[in-house]
């Protein structure tokens, strides 16, 4: 990178130095001083603005290199990689069926409100993920396809959309935190789930409560990393608060790494919550899950359901969903018998 | 602030796209090369090499219509450097500004003010129409109504209290012609109560310097600093006050390796570029100068031959200097011996050296002592009258030199003629008026006596601007005139440049009428809590009129009109005519001057000036010659200012006064005063014989020193008809000249014949004398140190006491000792000083209304040393109260910096619009409030006036700083 301002560089551009004249360059002393000092309070300027008193911000270059060489490269690979893994996994394992099939007898798992919170967060997250990725990877991936003008529109829209939806993510995250936190506190038995590899690896079920160890971990990842992303995002979106460039650069790094981690893991979550595991999506869709699914994946909670007699029949379930009992659902019920 | 982000789109923005000037193909490589090489030439000052720039592709063809672009050459209105400006005007709108690369003073360079001057041409925050205060609200009125009401009130006051109860406060912002008319107007009205900012900026310089060697002006020029081998700046911070002058200083510094010595209480931006920095305690200038001279005399470095030939009274100075041994100097000024020695040696080793001073030296109760000490220093080293030497007194406002020359002062008529009967007679002849009529305009009484005889009011010094407050507030018995002041005309004056804000407010409220004539409302409009009796008249800026303007180096430049007056504003001389007509003196006042549509013809005014200003040689600068210089300013040399070839061949740029004789005589102007190495006809000069020919048996005329080509090879007195006759040169005059010169001298001979003949014989018309290092007519003949009235060094008061109180001094009681007797240093432990910022100028109303400048300085602040800040628990950026020793308080932001020494605080004085913590923004007429308001530093400044000129003390007071 060129610091053309540096006197010794200008000097070096001179092809024929005057013979016999050698002197210590006063400028280089000055510049050494400028660059070796702390970033804070290096100088003063009558021009107001963020860091207007900073003559040279060397961190900027570090940040630029990190973003261009590491962040976008590894980030891109990570996103592409998780999709590859999920597809591979599906091809190898397929959808994991509920042991013993579905019974048709259901148990209430999530309230309306809980599902609203989940899906709101999901929609906002997806929107932010896509717009964020456009900003991060658009230039190498999309720009060559669309050309500068069109891509600029996409990027501009992404930037505005991303900025505007950011705070919504924080709000939905807080709703998520409040409504699910009690059931996501780690408890005894979660370790065994982990030791068994969550039931995905090898045979035999891993024991789990209302939420199993994996879900809890995902939950805490979402909450904690999400908060970090949200806060760093707010720092980035409000340039007028007076924070310096260094803070912005750090925020950006934290924000993008956090977001990439969440995105990567979320692909796994989406897979497991939908086609990866039979009967899992039901819970978030209708609020009810098959008791057999519950017994299989959340045996400790299933037990409670059995004990407290929370299970409803297929007919009752169909009625709750506004369907005539015995329509399409009957088939499943019969099969499971 | 949000609103500010909108650009002034309405004005010229859409048409502002600038096609190449000479459309379309002629703008080309050639133009580029010209500009760029000039630019690089300026850049390559150090080497004099003009490298040729490389150029990219040929310039593109301009495509956008928008009308022809007129290029107007004009002069910056901000400071006394007098930078040239090229304004680009399109359809009457000022759309662009180009660097005037060929202007001899600035080579296209500007400071932030000059580079932002175009904003004035858009002037959103101007006073837009005549306005008066009715029941506490501003009301728009017509010009006729305003002039009528003001005139009626003035006449009523005249009837009741006499003409001296109206104070005519003029301005250094007027061009020469307006300044002259203003002084004449006051004379026609019949008062000497007329003054302007020079009183509070360089009056002590003018008095001190003029009484030392003849003229009270900068002796050399900014450009002449190129020849300096050493540069001493005291109480001067040109990086902020005269930034473009630094290009000349740096040239000497880099090319001549001239040491730069800065003596100042603050480590200023100038000091940062200096080789020696001496931090003195404020108000100890005499001490440090005598301290340096102690080393000079001790080591015999003084120029003995020069002193013998051309200096009177150096022995007395030596005797005083003897007392200032290094120990005493360190005790009083705070500067250790080795630094004083090094600075003295640097000046002694590198001659000629120039001596630059500004308001840090002048604004003291002993300001005249300071300036004379500086002069003595230069005389001792023989630095006077040589190129590269001189007393380079950087003046403040763009035309403060001109306004001073034209006598907008309460102690003189134009041309420093003074107020004697002879002077009045001279000017009444020039004006073509009956002397008795003028006399009749004045109050017929007498306020003072001289040699037992009553002195007519006409010959009595008026109240100076620094004291108008007391002229209002003192009981009429204490004011040596018929009645106290009842009305003020603030004609281009910012009140915040004056000390004692609280009393000033009181005085404003006590007046019967305030008239503020200015492009901006100024703080005068908002300071007093008045309900009525205030008139605001919108004057146009100097960019909206034309005329001549005198730069600090005495060069007179023609300033062209860039745009028509904005809004309902009128040029000052038009307003003067209207008011004169109302007051019934227009016929007399404009007898020799053509008036069209109420506008007096500027050229005629200048011709009248030319016909009367013989004392200082304002006679050769005819409008034609000045316009010629303006048109061909590129032909003048950058260092010598002399035109080589071209229509002004041989002239010095701007015909720096004295340009002797009539314009026909074609005197080239005098670039360096008292320079004997040139014939007088080519700009040479001797010291002026102003103080007689001998004193107590000692010869006051020069001995064996004379200017080149002089027919008299020794000192000689000033020329008069008698001297010519004695010398046998009388017949060199033409018969007509003889007729005019009979009974006259070089100052009063309206034909200019005496001057012509003297110069023909190689002689200076004003004689050839010694400079006097001792001014026996002043309170302190040899400059001595006296402690400031408000001093923190009580231990020195006994040894260096101030003056006795005076009962009537410039018509007013003036206090010295009675103030110093009280010890304020306990309650107010910090020394308070003030100064300038580069972005603002003067009272700052104009510059704080300029959005490009205002953005750079948004807060009024006080500089505090970290030690004082820590003691008071103040952090950088805190709001603090600065309370002056007379208990006026200002609320400002703290800037904790080592720029000031411990125990010293500094405030810039350009702010106004807040008063003792109160924001007065809503008191401005709508839309005329400056972007930036702040406390006026001078609100907190205290009493104290120079013992000769009544200069205010605004560089050294005491204060207390507490967290707000």
């Amino acid at each position: 990178m060129c610091l053309a301002l540096l006197p010794f560089q200008v000097f070096s551009q001179d092809k024929k130095p005057e013979p016999g004249v050698f002197m210590k360059d006063p400028g280089s002393e000055l510049w050494r001083q400028v660059r070796q000092r702390d970033m804070e309070g290096v100088g003063i300027s009558q021009v107001r603005g963020v860091d207007s008193g900073v003559l040279i911000n060397a961190r900027g270059d570090q940040w630029a290199r990190f973003r261009m060489t590491q962040l976008s490269t590894y980030g891109g690979f990570a996103i592409a990689g998780i999709f590859a893994i999920v597809i591979l996994f599906y091809v190898v394992r397929g959808s994991v069926p509920v042991e013993g099939g579905l019974s048709g007898r259901m148990v209430k798992r999530f309230t309306d409100y809980e599902r609203v919170v989940h899906w709101t967060l999901a929609i906002v997250f997806l929107f932010l993920a896509i717009t964020g990725l456009i900003l991060l990877l658009g230039r190498p991936v999309l720009l060559p396809l669309f050309g500068k003008e069109v891509f600029s529109l996409m990027a501009s829209a992404s930037k505005e959309g991303h900025n505007l939806f950011g705070p919504l993510f924080l709000v939905s995250l807080i709703m998520m935190l409040i409504s699910f936190v009690r059931r996501n506190i780690y408890e005894k038995g979660d370790m065994t789930w982990l030791l068994k590899g969550g039931g995905l690896i090898g045979d035999g079920h891993a024991s789990g409560g209302f939420f199993n160890m994996g879900e809890k971990t995902w939950y805490w990842m979402v909450i904690l990393i999400g908060l970090v992303i949200a806060v760093s995002g707010l720092i980035l979106v409000s340039p007028s608060l007076g924070q310096g460039r260094v803070i912005m650069e750090l925020s950006h790094i934290v924000h993008s790494i956090g977001a990439l981690v969440l995105m990567t893991v979320s692909v796994g979550h989406m897979y497991l919550g939908s086609i990866g595991s039979e009967g899992a999506l039901e819970g978030m869709k209708t609020g009810y899950v098959d008791i057999n699914w519950a017994d299989a994946h959340h045996d400790r909670w299933g037990k409670v359901c059995h004990e407290q007699d929370l299970i409803i029949s297929a007919e009752e379930y169909a009625r709750s969903q506004g369907q005539k009992p015995g329509a399409d659902k009957m088939e499943t019920a019969e099969q499971s018998k | 602030m949000k609103k500010l982000t909108k650009t002034s789109s309405a004005v010229g923005k859409d048409t502002a796209v600038k096609p190449g000037k000479a459309l379309p193909d002629a703008i080309s490589r050639r133009t580029f090369l010209r500009n760029s090489s000039l630019m690089a030439g300026g850049a390559a000052l150090a080497t004099g090499v003009t490298p040729v720039m490389m150029k990219k592709a040929d310039a593109a063809v301009a495509t956008t219509p928008g009308g022809k672009i007129d290029e107007v050459k004009t002069i910056c209105t901000h400071c006394s450097v007098g930078c040239g400006i090229i304004a680009e005007v399109q359809n009457g709108v000022w759309t662009g500004q180009e660097p005037a690369f060929d202007h001899p003073f600035n080579k296209g360079a500007h400071c932030s003010k000059g580079a932002a001057i175009r904003e004035h041409g858009h002037g959103e925050r101007r006073l837009k129409y005549p306005t008066k205060l009715v029941d506490g609200k501003w009301k728009k009125v017509s010009w006729d109504e305003a002039i009528n009401e003001i005139g009626d009130k003035m006449l009523e006051i005249r009837e009741k209290s006499g003409p001296d109860s109206v104070f005519w406060l003029g301005s250094a912002k007027h061009n020469n012609e307006q300044a002259y008319l203003f002084r004449k107007f006051a004379a026609m009205w019949g008062t000497n109560n007329v003054d302007h900012q020079a009183r509070i900026c360089h009056s002590t310089t003018v008095a001190g310097v003029a009484n030392t060697w003849g003229y009270g002006a900068m002796t050399n020029s900014y450009n002449d600093i190129h020849n300096s081998k050493s540069i001493l700046l005291i109480g001067s911070n040109p990086t902020e006050a005269h930034p473009v002058s630094l290009q000349h200083i740096f040239k000497a510094k880099e090319e001549n390796n001239a040491p730069v010595i800065v003596i100042d209480p603050r480590y200023t931006r100038t000091a940062a570029h200096a080789d020696h920095f001496l931090r003195i305690r404020p108000g100890t200038d005499v001490g440090i100068i005598w301290g340096m001279m102690w080393h000079i005399f001790e080591n015999g470095w003084e120029d003995k031959e020069f002193i013998r030939q051309r200096v009177y009274g150096m022995d007395e100075v030596m005797a005083e200097v003897k007392k200032w041994n290094p120990k005493e100097v360190e005790n009083v000024t705070g500067v250790p011996e080795e630094q004083v020695f090094a600075a003295a040696k640097a000046m002694a080793d590198n001659r000629p050296g120039t001596f630059i001073w500004c308001m840090g030296g002048t604004q003291h109760t002993i300001g005249n002592n300071n300036t004379r000490a500086y002069c003595a220093f230069q005389l001792a080293l023989g630095n006077m009258g040589v190129s590269g030497g001189g007393a380079n007194i950087f003046r403040g406002h763009d035309n403060v030199q001109g306004a001073t020359d034209l006598g907008v002062l309460s102690n003189t008529l134009p041309g420093y003629y003074g107020l004697s009967a002879g002077s009045w007679k001279h000017w009444s002849r020039v004006w073509g008026l009956d002397y008795e009529w003028i006399k009749g305009q004045f109050d017929s009484g007498s306020y003072e006596q001289s040699k037992g005889k009553d002195v007519h009011v006409m010959n009595t010094k008026g109240i100076p601007v620094s004291r108008w407050i007391d002229g209002v507030l003192e009981t009429p018995e204490n004011v040596a005139q018929k009645d106290s002041l009842k009305a003020m005309l603030f004609w281009g004056h910012a009140p915040n440049s004056q000390t004692r804000g609280v009393e000033q407010k009181k005085a404003m409220e006590a007046l019967e009428m305030m008239v503020i004539i200015d492009p901006y409302p100024t703080a005068s409009a908002v300071m007093p809590d008045r309900k009525d009796g205030v008139y605001l008249l919108p004057a146009s800026t100097q960019m909206e009129t034309y005329g001549s303007v005198t730069a600090s180096n005495r060069s007179i430049q023609w300033r062209s009109k860039v745009i028509d007056p904005l809004f309902e504003s009128l040029p000052d001389h038009v307003i003067m005519y209207k008011l004169a007509k109302k007051l019934g003196v227009a016929d007399q006042m404009f007898k020799n001057i053509k008036v069209e549509n109420d506008e007096p013809l500027i050229e005629d005014v200048l011709r009248e000036i030319n016909s009367g200003m013989w004392t200082i040689g304002y006679t050769g600068q005819s409008p034609e010659r000045l316009k010629n210089h303006q048109e061909h300013w590129g032909t003048f040399d950058y260092t010598s200012l002399k035109a080589e070839g071209g229509p002004a061949d041989g002239d010095f740029y701007g015909l720096p006064w004295p340009s002797w004789g009539t314009a026909e005589m074609n005197h080239p102007g005098t670039p360096n005063l008292y320079d004997t190495s040139k014939p007088v006809a080519e700009g040479g000069l001797t010291f002026r014989a102003r103080f007689g020919v001998e004193r107590n048996g000692t010869n006051l005329l020069a001995e064996g020193s004379f200017s080149k080509g002089s027919d008299i090879k020794d000192g000689y007195p000033e020329f008069s008809h008698e001297v010519l006759k004695k010398l046998g040169w009388w017949n060199d005059l033409t018969p007509e000249e003889q007729q005019a010169a009979e009974g006259k001298n070089w100052k009063t001979d309206l034909s200019g014949g005496i001057q012509r003949v003297a110069i023909k014989h190689g002689c200076s018309p004003f004689g050839n004398a010694k400079a006097r290092a001792m001014v026996w007519t002043f309170p302190d003949p040899v400059p001595i140190h006296r402690e400031p009235l408000y001093t923190s060094r009580r231990d020195l008061v006994e040894k260096y006491p101030t003056y006795e109180d005076r009962k009537s001094f410039w018509r007013l009681p003036t206090r010295y000792k009675s103030i110093q007797a009280i010890d304020y240093s306990g309650d107010y432990p910090i020394i308070l000083t003030s100064g300038r910022l580069v972005e603002y100028e003067g009272g700052g109303d104009e510059t704080r209304s300029n959005k490009w400048l205002a953005e750079l300085q948004q807060d009024m602040f006080v500089e505090i040393h970290p030690r004082d800040a820590n003691n008071a628990g103040i952090k950088d950026g805190d709001d603090v109260w600065v309370e002056g020793a007379e208990s006026a308080k200002v609320k400002v932001k703290a800037m904790v910096t080592r720029r000031v020494g411990s125990g010293v605080a500094f405030m810039p004085f350009h702010f106004a619009g807040h008063f003792q913590g109160k924001d007065l923004r809503d008191k401005y007429p709508e839309g005329a409030d400056p972007y930036v308001l702040g406390e006026a530093a001078n609100t907190a400044f205290t009493y104290g006036y120079d013992s000769v000129t009544q200069m205010q003390e605004s560089k050294c007071s005491l204060c207390r700083i507490t967290k707000a």
């Binding site: 309306d112 409100y113 599902r115 609203v116 899906w119 709101t120 929609i123 906002v124 003008e149 069109v150 600029s152 529109l153 501009s156 829209a157 930037k159 505005e160 959309g161 505007l164 939806f165 705070p167 919504l168 709000v171 939905s172 978030m284 869709k285 209708t286 609020g287 709750s320 969903q321 506004g322 | -």
Partner: protein, 213 residues
């Protein structure tokens, strides 16, 4: 080309459809002939009609707990949208320049952002609830979904165009608005206007019968 179409004819067309459509729909509702109520009035219809229009802004206490999400989200969305529509600076400027010839003080930028965030969150939550709540899902028609999605698109394109620097994004927003305007009179979006006669009718109907509703 397309710029001219969207800024010109299509805009006028959609505006015409909107205005004529709304007037026609409202007219046909208001002037729909109805059998005269021959029963003896037990109360005043008029005051009850007016009262009901306002009283229905607040849900009955008994059901608040069951409809917290639509209640809160509904208000967030509707208030946010109203603020956006009429007090966003670009909208005020647009209305002043293109339609009304006069303007009013727009809200500050930060309020604009907050309002749009409320509106977005409200709309998303309402739509999610529509999908996850069995009853809502069942009573939703495709028209409801189209109206919601179209409104969402209008808001989204508006937020995309927030920088006000890009013609393309502005046109996208305007185009979506035009589609929305055309769709408006023939859809559930008409509730913007019809909620008043509808509530009033109910109120009058009950009021006449002396029922405090």
């Amino acid at each position: 080309m397309i710029e001219n179409l969207i800024d010109g004819p299509l805009w006028y067309f959609s505006l015409a459809v909107f205005v004529i459509g709304v007037v026609w729909r409202l007219g046909s509702i208001i002037f729909a002939s109805r059998k005269q109520d021959l029963s003896v009035a037990r109360g005043a219809a008029g005051p009850a009609a007016i009262k009901t229009v306002f009283s229905r802004f607040v849900p009955h206490k008994e059901i608040v707990s069951q409809i917290t999400v639509p209640f809160v989200a509904g208000y967030m969305f509707h208030l946010g949208l109203f603020a956006l529509l009429f007090f966003a600076a670009p909208h005020v400027a647009f209305l002043e320049e293109n339609l009304l010839g006069f303007g009013w003080t727009p809200m500050p930028h930060w309020a604009f952002i907050v309002a749009s965030q409320l509106a977005f969150l409200g709309l998303i939550m309402l739509w999610v609830r529509r999908m996850v709540n069995p009853v809502s899902r069942l009573i939703s028609t495709w028209d409801d979904h189209v109206a919601a999605i179209l409104t969402f698109v209008v808001m989204l394109t508006g937020c995309f165009a927030l920088l006000e620097g890009s013609t393309g994004l502005r046109l996208l927003h305007r185009f979506s608005v035009e589609l929305w305007l055309i769709y408006f009179p023939f859809s559930a979006l008409m509730h913007t206007f019809t909620f008043i006669p509808s509530r009033a009718f109910t109120g009058a109907w009950f009021g006449r019968r002396g029922i405090d509703a």
